[in-house]
């Protein structure tokens, strides 16, 4: 069990790192959110699942599970809220973006 | 407790205190009752004080109160003055505001003065001293809306001096472990003892109105009700200030020659400065205020001689001064009441309208000026004697200057009182006066004035017989030698004879109208022919010399002019000077408080660093 847990946590940590790198590298808010949300959410969920495997007591396992579910539910919501706020505020897309139908619609 | 009630030393304090409280509590409408109660209480106090005065030294059971010849004498004088003022106020205060407070304060002033005089403990003295300042403040304050500045100034100087008295007491206490007045006299060796001495001196000077702590007196004289001025600044405060000075000189400290010289110096300065300032005043009461300051100088001179004669002279002069200055202030009160003004320019010709007041005023004025046979002459004469005497024996040449100042002061005083007499009573009535229907003064007002005036005469003629013998010399407690005695009685007899002869001449010659009328001359020309710019020849003309105009020339004298200019910009007013410096410091500090939070935060950090430095480094 411990080994499985470790592996899962390792994967989670790697995804976390990738997400964060993406968040730093990507050119605009929306892309950063993409990287951040997806990778970090998955990463943390993996860590929590790994914790489930490695934890010594049932309550801890349960809490880890609840926590994972909560993250899975709220993280995309938060990302969505942020993206919407950014868009409403008028934060422009990266200049090399191909299309912006949001802006097009608002202009109409 | 019962013993305490029957303690004879406590009674003259307690009676007026309680009576004052009753006065304050009596309903507003009971004014006559209040007035009579005041009179009765002061009269009772006089009666209670008499045995104290006559009975010699004694100390109360608890050791807090003590009476000796000096304090008994001054206490008696105080009580008598209070009685006179109370009688005077019966009429004076009838239609004025604040009677309730007035009566209360009058009685309380008497009580606190009694406390201060009978105190055997310096702390009690300080307490009563401060309370007197407060009652004085209240009494000036109730003299109407204009008096508030004067009240504030008075309280600042007198109350401030009380604080200095506190410091002096504290110094003595801390250094010598006792606040008893009869403790061993302190030799002025250490700096703290000298500081204590100067604190006491400042308090006494302020109370008595010695320059440069005098400036409350003219203001107070000008603004306060006449009886208030007559009672507190003119008599009671003088008595107390001099009392304290005498105590300092005789009991509390061992006086050095330098101190005496200092006394004489301040005395001379006060005489000259105050009378010169008085000379140019146009307000009768203010003028009297300055005049009152000037007279303290003589007393100080007397004390400064450090001889028994000087002391006796000082005490005598103090008493005399209180008498004639009260008389003058009360007279001024009548003038103000009847004429509605104390502006010398608007007064005139009151001699016929207020004959008794005029007579009293005249006597008191002549007494102030030191004209024989009145009491002022007697005491001044003693002071001159003492100055000459001590000066010759000590070899310090300062006495010559002092004597010159005293003489000049006398001359100035005479001049300024002539001015007053002329412009208030003798000169032609001004339109203002002519319009007024001036009634004679009521008896409660007239009685004290006449009494005081007659005291001026009696104490002058029988100087040796009554006041010196019964009042002053016992208070000095040592033998006094009179080097060149002024035989007051004989001289007075001669003067009286001269006066009688003069009257007979007048009666037989002038009254019969056998007068030679001559034209009025001015500058060697006949008045109606003289060329006066702006007045056509032949037009009706008369010359009014109001007295004030005459003394305006004094103001313009080349030496005096700059001094007067400085005086009018209050350069010599220590209250004003210190006030300005304080205000400047305050403005400076206020400017630093910019209202900006980061500045304050900066101060916080600086303060923290400073504290850190002190705590971490420690002190050497």
């Amino acid at each position: 069990m411990n080994e499985i847990g470790l592996v899962i946590i390792a994967m989670g940590v790697i995804f976390d790192l990738l997400g964060c790198i993406g968040m730093v590298r990507f050119p605009d808010v929306y892309n950063r959110l993409q990287a951040g949300t997806k990778c970090v959410t998955l990463g943390v969920c993996l860590i929590l699942i790994g914790t489930m495997f490695m934890a010594q007591t049932t309550p801890t396992r349960i809490k880890a599970l609840l926590c994972a579910i909560f993250i899975l539910l709220t993280s995309p919501t938060a990302a969505h809220a942020l993206a919407r706020a950014a868009r409403v505020t008028g934060i422009p897309l990266w200049e090399k973006s191909v299309v912006d139908q949001f802006e097009a619609e608002r202009v109409q | 407790m019962v013993d305490l009630m029957f303690e004879p030393l406590l009674q003259p304090i307690a009676i007026p205190l309680v009576a004052g409280l009753v006065c304050l509590l009596l309903p507003k409408t009971w004014q006559p009752a209040r007035g009579w109660l005041t009179c009765a209480a002061t009269a009772v106090t006089v009666m209670l004080v008499w045995p104290l005065f006559a009975g010699g030294s004694r100390t109360s059971e608890n050791g807090l109160l003590r009476v000796d010849q000096l304090s008994g004498f001054i206490m008696l004088a105080t009580a008598v003055f209070a009685l006179l003022i109370a009688v005077y106020s019966l009429d004076y205060m009838r239609d004025r505001q604040g009677q309730r407070l007035y009566s209360g304060c009058l009685l309380w002033s008497l009580a606190f003065a009694g406390g201060a005089l009978l105190a055997a403990d310096l702390v009690l003295l300080v307490v009563c001293w401060g309370l007197l300042a407060a009652t004085l403040y209240l009494m000036i304050g109730l003299s109407g809306p204009d008096a508030s500045d004067a009240a504030r100034k008075t309280f600042m100087i007198v109350g401030g001096s009380d604080t200095l008295l506190l410091l002096g007491t504290a110094l003595l206490w801390a250094q010598h472990g006792s606040t008893r007045m009869d403790a061993a006299a302190v030799t002025l060796v250490s700096a703290t003892d000298q500081l204590a001495f100067f604190c006491f001196a400042a308090a006494a000077f302020a109370k008595a109105g010695v320059m440069p702590l005098h400036s409350w007196l003219p203001d107070c004289g000008e603004k306060a009700h006449a009886p208030v001025t007559a009672f507190l600044p003119a008599s009671l405060d003088k008595l107390l200030g001099i009392y304290l000075l005498m105590r300092m000189v005789t009991d509390l400290f061992v006086i050095t020659d330098q101190i005496n010289t200092m006394f004489m110096f301040f005395g001379s300065v006060t005489i000259l400065g105050a009378t010169m300032l008085a000379l140019i005043q146009r307000n009768l009461k203010r003028l009297l205020g300055y005049c009152a300051v000037g007279q303290v100088g003589y007393i100080l001179l007397g004390i400064g001689t450090a001889t028994a004669l000087g002391m006796a002279a000082a005490l005598f002069h103090m008493l005399n001064h209180a008498i004639y200055k009260s008389c003058l202030f009360l007279g001024a009160g009548v003038v103000e009441e009847k004429a509605g003004t104390v502006d010398l320019d608007r007064l005139g010709g009151l001699a016929t309208r207020l004959p008794l007041t005029f007579a009293s005023f005249l006597i008191a004025s002549l007494a102030v000026a030191g004209i024989p046979p009145f009491n002022g002459f007697a005491s001044k004469w003693m002071i001159y004697q003492a100055v000459i005497d001590s000066g010759q024996s000590s070899g310090n040449l300062f006495w010559i200057l002092s004597l010159a100042a005293a003489m000049m002061g006398s001359a100035f005083t005479l001049a300024l009182l002539v001015k007053v007499l002329h412009s208030v009573f003798l000169c032609k009535p001004t339109p203002h006066i002519r319009e007024k229907n001036i009634q004679k003064a009521a008896w409660p007002t007239a009685l004290p004035i006449l009494l005081l005036a007659s005291l001026c005469v009696i104490f002058g003629i029988f100087a040796n017989g009554i006041p010196l013998r019964f009042l002053v010399l016992p208070a000095i407690g040592q033998a006094v030698e009179f080097p060149g005695t002024w035989r007051a009685g004989r001289a007075s007899g001669l003067l009286l004879i001269a006066l009688v002869i003069g009257w007979i001449v007048y009666a037989f010659t002038l009254r019969n109208g056998k007068l030679r009328r001559v034209p009025t001359f001015i500058g060697g020309e006949r008045l109606d022919e003289a060329r006066i710019p702006g007045v056509p020849k032949g037009a009706s003309r008369h010359v009014e010399v109001t007295g004030v105009d005459f003394y305006q020339t004094v103001e313009q004298l080349p030496v005096l002019k700059p001094l007067y200019v400085l005086a009018s910009s209050k350069v010599f007013d220590i209250y004003d000077r210190i006030g300005k410096v304080t205000a400047w410091l305050s403005t400076l500090l206020r400017a630093a408080h910019r209202g900006v939070l980061p500045t304050y935060l900066g101060w916080f950090v600086l303060g923290l660093l400073g504290i850190l430095y002190v705590i971490m480094e420690g002190t050497p």
Binding site: - | V127, S148, G160, T163, L164, F604, I611, I615
Partner: protein, 489 residues
């Protein structure tokens, strides 16, 4: 009996929280409940006179639990706090009528009292911090209570400076805890002597000086006070100046220095200089003021300087003088602030330049204010005189004649600014518009009584002096508590 000790904190706290509920039932419950509570507190404090106990909260012994400490000093403080609070509470009944949401005012007042009582009682350093913060937060809110621009500004400045000082104090407490491993003041005192005067201890001491110095408004940490006191409603200014800044500033500092750290010459020197400078600066600043409450506020600064200076003389008698003056200041300064409230209500302004002749219409205010002014200026025989006398004598005895002279000079300055108030506000005649605005009759009884009581207090407290200047009733034993030195377990 001892079980009632924590009620001194518990009652006002409970009532403070009960008030918002009770006013739903009847709006008058706020003033009723708080005044009842304050009355109870006064009785409680009276019952503590002469008591010397350590009360263990929850029954835990000294190092583990929280102690409440009753000795003569804390009793003196409690009497002052609760007595004054009751007076202020009665005054508030009428004075606070014009304000909206009165019940919040009373709640905050209760918290203020609870916090201050707690500070006076506690024997635990962190607990002290907590109570101090309760007091501080309540005072921040009360300063802002009147809802004017200036009151918000004043409160903001107070809150930032006060917050900074609280942080500084907390750092000091943490340091002491790090060094000694305890926060119980008795325990701390004994550990401190084991640890010795190491750098962290000294550092903490400096931080306390700074932090509590701000609470007490010592120069240069005084800047919040002249803004805050005038901005607060008059009864609150009275309470803040009378006890709050004294208890959470001066009292705590004295307690810590004398009973926990152990006093030494450096501390005394610092106290003398800080107190002296504060006294001088406060007095000079007061002279130049035209806003009557601001003038009184600066005068408070000056007086607190005097108290700290007296503590800095370091002898028993000096402490007596300081404590005596502290108690005296808690009578005349609140009196003056209450009077200023009446003046402001009557004249519609606080600017002395615009007032004149209020004395005729407000005889009680004028009379009591006069008593307060003269007491503050140290005019005998009012209480301020006796404490100043003691302080001056002690100053000379301990060879600090220069400071004694300064005290006397500042006394004269105090007389100057008090007479300025007297003259401007009460003397003279009001001009026509002012005359029209003035109330026809003097204020209601509930306003007058507190002022008269305080004025009588100014006179009556001098009776303490009659019981022996060197060891007056209540004050003398309280001073002994400080002078007995570092607490031993």
């Amino acid at each position: 009996m001892n079980n009632l000790v924590p009620l001194l904190v518990a009652i006002p706290l409970g009532v403070g929280f009960l008030i918002p509920l009770a006013v739903r039932w009847k709006p008058q419950m706020a003033e009723l409940l708080s005044n009842l509570a304050l009355f109870g507190l006064v009785l409680l404090s009276l019952s503590l006179i002469g008591n010397q106990t350590i009360y263990h909260m929850g029954g835990w012994p000294t190092p583990n639990g929280i102690d409440l400490r009753i000795d003569d000093l804390s009793t003196l403080m409690l009497l002052t706090i609760n007595g004054l609070a009751l007076i202020v509470g009665i005054y508030s009944v009428v004075a606070m009528q014009p304000y909206t949401s009165q019940h919040r005012y009373y709640s905050l007042l209760m918290f203020l009292v609870a916090g201050t009582n707690g500070v006076a009682l506690t024997g635990d350093l962190f607990n002290l911090y907590v109570f101090m913060e309760i007091t501080a937060i309540a005072s921040y809110a009360l300063v802002a209570f009147s809802g004017e621009d200036e009151s918000f500004e004043a409160s903001l400045k107070y809150v930032v400076l006060g917050g900074l000082s609280s942080s500084v104090i907390l750092i000091g407490i943490s340091l002491l805890y790090a060094v000694t491993g305890t926060l119980n003041m008795t325990h701390l005192a004994s550990r401190m002597s084991e640890v010795g005067e190491t750098a962290p201890v000294k550092f903490a001491l400096a931080l306390f000086f700074c932090g509590f110095g701000l609470k007490a408004a010592l120069v240069p940490f005084h800047t919040w006070l002249p803004d805050a006191y005038p901005a607060a409603p008059a009864p609150i200014s009275a309470l803040l100046s009378g006890v709050v800044s004294k208890v959470i500033g001066v009292y705590v500092l004295a307690r810590l220095l004398f009973n926990v750290f152990g006093i030494n010459d450096d501390m005394l020197l610092l106290m003398r200089w800080m107190g002296g400078i504060t006294m001088v600066a406060g007095g000079l600043l007061a002279v130049g003021q035209w806003d009557i409450k601001r003038l009184f506020a600066y005068s408070s600064i000056s007086q607190v300087g005097l108290i700290v200076l007296a503590l800095g003389f370091g002898t028993t008698w000096g402490v007596v003088g300081a404590l005596y003056h502290l108690v005296n200041h808690a009578t005349f300064k609140p009196l003056l602030f209450l009077c200023s409230g009446q003046i402001e209500t009557a004249a519609g302004t606080r600017d002395l330049r615009q007032m004149r002749g209020l004395g005729r219409r407000l005889p009680i205010t004028a009379g009591t204010c006069m008593v307060g002014s003269l007491a503050l200026a140290g005019i005998p025989p009012l209480n301020g005189f006796w404490s100043k006398l003691i302080i001056v004598v002690v100053g000379i005895q301990t060879d600090h004649t220069a400071w004694a002279v300064t005290v006397v000079v500042m006394s004269i300055v105090a007389l100057a600014y008090q007479l300025k108030v007297q003259q401007r506000a009460f003397y003279g005649t009001a001009d026509a518009p002012m005359e029209k605005q003035l109330p026809v009759s003097e204020s209601p009884v509930l306003i007058s009584i507190p002022m008269i009581v305080l004025a009588i207090g100014c006179i009556a407290l001098s009776l303490l002096a009659l019981s022996g200047l060197e060891h007056p009733l209540l004050v003398g034993p309280a001073a002994d508590v400080l002078m007995r030195g570092v607490w031993k377990p």
